[in-house]
């Protein structure tokens, strides 16, 4: 199957270097680094080395980093650690469902609209200038790849603490000039599944939001071998990033151009100039998304959809809805570092054939 998929976060294979590191770490880093035995001391050195490597790659201090063995909790840790009972929680309508879940039942919640290109309307944030609380700032959207104007949003949030979500953006977008917590997912740099990195800025008022006795900031239960593989994967990712991001941007540009010119009535979510270089969301008028997925799967492309007919709750993607993009006939495409031009051209042709066959009127 060609290596073009739907879900950047879940479907990137480990590089051979990260896989080797994982294997070695399973042999050497099995002990609990917090204990006193010789094997634990060895594990502790490996742990400290991985944290130092991550800190350098992410441009953080080592004491700002917490490792989470359950990345799905990262959004909660990042935001809830900053949130006080009376605080306003401000987030966008294209934010992750985890953030909506956190906001559910709270009284002081402000949802920010986005414009048709997926960018948060800063005037709505300006209107909240006096509010104290937390801005849940999704740096880049996982469905569309749209990158927010982070510095401008931060500048308009002077009384808000910033919980920045880098789970999709990874290291492709720099940390803002002011932030309180930031969350990264190892999968955004093709690291292993199961490692989240919570960064807590020195001086921030973040507090562990889960019940705890000792002064720990996280459960300290993440797998050491996975952590080491995460650090190795990030080093490798950063080594090639300058070249790869331009290559992927060129490929995605060609993908968008070819699809838009060869298939009429196609809605593309967001501008590539304001998006991550590898993510695209297309919607095709008069086409059922589920059947489109099936046909592309048969053609060897495992893409995904935000259409209502493919969702468990039969609701269309809230991201597409907020942007005013067509919600049916939707596919999300992610190019990877090993995606080739010929795979992209084959995908375009497969989409054209499938849409032509399925389009009804």
């Amino acid at each position: 199957m060609a290596h073009i998929t739907a879900n950047f976060l879940a479907e990137s294979p480990l590089s051979s270097r990260a896989r080797d590191a994982l294997g070695d770490a399973i042999d050497q880093g099995w002990a609990d680094p917090r204990k006193l035995a010789h094997s634990s001391a060895k594990a502790r050195i490996l742990h400290e080395g991985a944290i130092a490597s991550l800190a350098q790659s992410l441009r953080l201090r080592t004491d700002e980093i917490e490792i989470l063995g359950e990345p799905a909790l990262g959004h909660f840790y990042s935001i809830a650690g900053l949130l006080r009972p009376q605080d306003a929680l401000v987030h966008s309508l294209v934010d992750r469902k985890e953030v909506f879940a956190l906001a559910k039942g709270r009284e002081n919640v402000h949802e920010l609209s986005v414009d048709p290109s997926g960018l948060i309307k800063t005037e709505e944030l300006q209107a909240l200038a006096g509010s104290e609380g937390v801005l849940a700032l999704q740096v880049a959207n996982g469905e569309t790849g749209v990158i927010q104007d982070v510095e401008e949003l931060v500048a308009h949030s002077s009384k808000l603490r910033i919980a920045a979500d880098f789970s999709t953006a990874g290291t492709r977008v720099p940390l803002p000039s002011r932030w309180d917590s930031a969350f990264f997912d190892s999968r955004s740099w093709q690291g292993p599944q199961g490692i989240g990195i919570l960064a807590i800025s020195n001086g921030s008022q973040w507090r562990n939001p889960l019940p705890h006795l000792a002064s720990t900031r996280s459960p300290q239960s993440a797998s050491l071998p996975l952590l080491i593989a995460t650090a190795v994967a990030l080093e490798e990712w950063n080594e090639n990033e300058e070249f790869e991001k331009e290559r992927l941007r060129g490929l995605t540009h060609e993908l968008r151009r070819r699809v838009s010119t060869s298939i009429e009535n196609c809605d593309v979510a967001g501008d590539l100039d304001r998006s991550l270089p590898h993510i695209t969301s297309f919607s095709f008028l008069y086409v059922e998304g589920e059947e489109l997925l099936r046909r592309l799967e048969v053609a060897g492309f495992a893409v995904d959809s935000g259409s209502a007919c493919t969702a468990e709750d039969l609701q269309p993607s809230h991201v597409l809805a907020a942007m005013g993009v067509l919600t049916h006939g939707n596919i999300r495409i992610t190019l990877h570092r090993d995606s080739t031009p010929s795979q992209v051209f084959e995908l375009v042709e497969a989409i054209r054939i499938a849409v032509t066959a399925l389009r009804v009127p």
Binding site: C309, L326, T327, P361
Partner: protein, 71 residues
Amino acid sequence: MKELNCLGMRCPLPIIAVGREIKSLVGGETIHLLADDPATELDLRAWARMTGNQMEVSGPNEFLVTKSKVD
């Protein structure tokens, strides 16, 4: 005004039905659409933007869809 009852249909069927029906209209003519799928309003707005036709919400699960005068 043409009536189009798409109640009970899941998206994209109401939009497909509108797309079919609009072909038989001349510019300026209107369809009265009944549709209760939650995605209908979203997709009808996107459809109008993409095709140059007009739509408005005329009541709960009711829409007025007007064919553009310019082809």
